[in-house]
């Protein structure tokens, strides 16, 4: 997994609440057996008309946001399905951080597994960042994971919280499975104990 340390980039505003996983990547694109190549279909039904032409009003189709690397989104971003295709599509498009007041649980987990940093902030701060994102391509935001701080285009600093273990994995691009294998003795011991206590499982 690619490391996430510090990112300075364009932030796109998506104030709609409850942006669900079917909006992020509609199910017709779930038929792939690969992880890559989904970026072109990110937000497909909002981004293109039925003939495949871009809908000019959609934020990521606007010239100033086509190279966005950060999303500032409305409440409950990523609700719905467990499909990891949602973060795969975001990452493939180039999105590396998403900021909202809240995220759906499974989507939130899936982001960390794919080098995307989801950041939860109170409403006032999301509003402030949304206003900053509205300024367009010349207003670049910085997300500094090591120091857990977002800096707006005009220098306002907003600190954020992140789980220390997830921060460590993201900053070092660590593979969860490799880390868990280091605890194999504990898993083996658990299995032996469970086989005694609950042999029917």
């Amino acid at each position: 997994m690619e490391k996430f340390e510090k990112l300075t980039g364009i932030a796109a505003p998506m104030p709609l609440v409850n942006i669900d996983t079917d909006m992020i990547i509609p199910k017709v694109f779930l038929k792939t057996i690969k992880r890559s190549g989904l970026g072109v279909n990110l937000f497909d039904e909002m981004r293109y008309d039925r003939e495949g032409n871009e809908i000019p009003d959609f934020v990521l189709n606007k010239p100033q946001y086509r190279a966005a690397e950060i999303l500032v989104a409305g409440d409950n971003f990523g609700c719905g399905s467990s499909r990891e295709h949602a973060p795969w599509a975001l990452r493939d498009f180039g999105i590396k951080a998403v900021i909202s007041t809240s995220f759906a649980d499974i989507f939130f987990n899936n982001c960390f597994k794919n080098g995307i940093l989801p950041i939860v902030l109170p409403q006032e701060q999301v509003d402030l960042l949304m206003a900053d994102a509205e300024k367009g391509a010349n207003a670049r935001m910085t997300v500094d994971l090591e120091n857990q701080c977002i800096t707006t285009s005009d220098g306002i600093e907003i600190p954020f919280n992140v789980d220390p273990f997830r921060k460590h994995c993201l900053m070092n691009g660590l593979d969860d499975i490799g880390l868990t294998f280091e605890k194999k003795a504990a898993i083996d011991a658990f299995e032996q104990k469970a086989a005694q206590e609950r042999p029917w499982v």
């Binding site: 909006m23 779930l30 038929k31 759906a104």
Partner: protein, 467 residues
Amino acid sequence: MSGKTLYDKIWDAHVAHEAEDGTCLLYIDRHLVHEVTSPQAFEGLRMAGRKVHAPDKTIAVPDHNVPTTLDREKGIENEESRIQVEALDSNARETGIHYYPVNDVRQGIVHIVGPEQGWTLPGMTVVCGDSHTATHGAFGALAHGIGTSEVEHVLATQTLIQQKSKNMKVEITGKLNPGVTAKDITLAVIGKTGTAGGTGYVIEYCGEAIRSLSMEGRMTVCNMAIEGGARAGLIAPDETTFAYVKGRPHAPKGAQWEAALAWWKTLYSDDDAHWDKVITIAAEEIEPVVTWGTSPEDVLPISAKVPAPEDFTGGKVEAAKRALDYMGLKPGTPLNEIKVDAVFIGSCTNGRIEDLREVAKILKGKKVAEGVRVMIVPGSGLVREQAEQEGLAEIFEQAGAEWRLAGCSMCLAMNPDQLAPGERCASTSNRNFEGRQGYKGRTHLMSPAMAAAAAVTGHLTDVRELA
């Protein structure tokens, strides 16, 4: 020290390792697998030279992409769908996990097959690369959806890296009125809490109305815990649970049954357990409900009218405006005047035998309304068989409904079962998101009985008026 909740008890029994910061390795008893979220996980294992750690605890069945038409043996027409199902087939055979292929009578929606075969048991941890894994919580199992990276992690290690959630109690007191079902309970709860109300929590459903539900009804309630944002939904196991489980192919037998039963009977929340949030709803106040918008929280009693954006506050005003436009609805329209083009009965929410019996009660001796397409899709091959033995299939066909083979079908429309743009559907499924049942398709969620009533009248209908 306060007592433990059911969630606390199951959690504690499955922690294989706890780090200093509280991050745990949770041991997984059952891993269910379907074709959409697993190919990249198996591929990842292969590329890293890793093996499936516990093939005997891993169960695979194709469901999302399979055709539900009677000519299924002809194969899957869409190439990408076919490749996905073929990939599951070869991955299952290569790794030696339990597997129900498309042509097996036991094939069906993964969340219906698991309980039906006795894979899902009280006190277990159950995961699947599918958000509706919450369904299995009906057995008092800790069950939730995971992403594909986590599918790979569970395949490789039989554990999941987890932080513990908070405890929420949802109590439904008293008795349901006639015509009100498990689906109305679960939708009414989401209507009250919102789709993010459960975020960060595991919900335990309790109270007289929950206790009175069959296992089928309890699965419907827990299935939609995820729609309320919760990691999982749980119902403490009781005699209803034990009676359902007993004798299933993979349920324990003999002395093991007795040992299992003794432990299962300890699986309840202690009286002095700590709850981080409590919600109480009187069953008598729940009416048959439908959704009007594009989020499962957009719930209203069938007697209500389509709301206006001004009825909401904050970001929901804009969302409601967008939803009304998408749904093609005008504020103030009585919900029971909304005409439908299609009716979908099925899914992991409502594709079980009891759901089909409810539908048959309404459709018996009646015809579906002119111009309305009604699709009834059983949750598994065995549900289909039972419905045929009970004479339900005959009632469906005589009423003019299509009686299909088992699969996810029009719940998420990955196979050819889809709405056309602008078509409106009364659906027993779980999500009314934009495009969920087909590009620009319009979904109203409701119970099987309410969907059957809409099939007969051609518009959203209070089922109590038909009886």
